[in-house]
Symmetry: C2
Subunit: 191 residues, 2 copies
């Protein structure tokens, strides 16, 4: 019974945290506790710092996002087309959660944010490896670098939109263009 209460509280805190932080990256722990209908002492019992709370909300949002990325057609398309599709769907999800990502960026080191993306980054890695094997993607730089560039450019796009240097509706196309040229095997001089 006590454990069931705790689980219910944790779920209420994470759901409220995701909702509030997605609207205002600066939402406070007190605001999240209030919206979740729990006391601050209860919240701090589960999440000792705001950093812990933001990290847990991020983990929950990424787990949801990873489900949405589970697209069986990705495996059947040629790697460059699958890449364009994966970039577009990843951007669509990130753009929807962009203020939550901004909250995470303000609170957590980039490396901690990246660690939480292990599952979606496995999808990116698998696709890049397939494109390297098929000769579509370049092999003169490490796979891990290509995966990290994918992650970095997507998150840069979210920051550019937040800073009003890029229009949200343009970002998907800009990302597809950029990641295609970054990964493509045919170098301009050899093309």
């Amino acid at each position: 019974m006590v454990r069931a209460d705790a689980e219910r509280n944790i779920e209420a805190i994470l759901a409220a945290g995701q909702r509030l932080l997605s609207g205002d990256p600066g939402a406070s722990v007190a605001e999240v506790a209030k919206a979740a209908g729990v006391g601050r002492v209860t919240l701090y019992g589960h999440f000792p710092s705001r950093e812990d709370l933001v990290a847990a909300v991020l983990t929950r949002a990424i787990a949801e996002a990873d489900q949405a990325l589970d697209d069986p057609e990705l495996a059947t398309l040629p790697a460059p087309d699958a890449l364009a599709r994966l970039v577009s769907s990843s951007w669509e999800i990130l753009n929807r959660h962009s203020r939550l990502f901004i909250a995470a960026d303000r609170t957590l080191p980039t490396e901690r944010i990246r660690e939480r993306h292990a599952e979606p980054l496995k999808r990116v890695e698998g696709l890049i490896e397939r494109g390297r094997e098929s000769g579509d993607f370049r092999t003169d730089v490490p796979v891990s670098w290509q995966v990290s560039s994918f992650f970095a450019l997507l998150h840069t796009a979210a920051q550019e939109v937040e800073a009003a240097r890029l229009v949200g509706g343009e970002a998907g196309g800009v990302l597809v263009t950029s990641l295609r040229s970054l990964l493509s095997a045919r170098s301009p001089s050899a093309g």
Copy 2:
């Protein structure tokens, strides 16, 4: 006299901060005060939070770096060659200060780190604009996006080296390859 003391203290704090944070991104305010030969109260009088101190140290390091990037040959080389040269020298400086950047990334939002790079990013922007005008660089994505991609990939390389996913000696070449393909006007399909 009092003002001269204050200026001497600030300079000692910033120099000690840059030295300590470049070795250990987690260096504490107390350690910096001790190394600078000032009391903690004096340090907090100038820098009310660790975040303020890290931001000021970063600003000082970037001002030094910007001097080092002032290379008259950049203006005489064709844009793609000037780009390779600017990427290499920027990476060399960033790699030397990489733990300071890691300290900044753990403490400050990415947008605040970027704001402090206004001067070096102006150099990048000028070069990219020249390459767009000469037809060497693509013009189907915004200049601001190309500048931000340059910034993002350089800092991603520093994080990759810190996480031991990329060897420091390889990073310069990987960055030149990646930024060339990202910026080049000749798309693979049209090449």
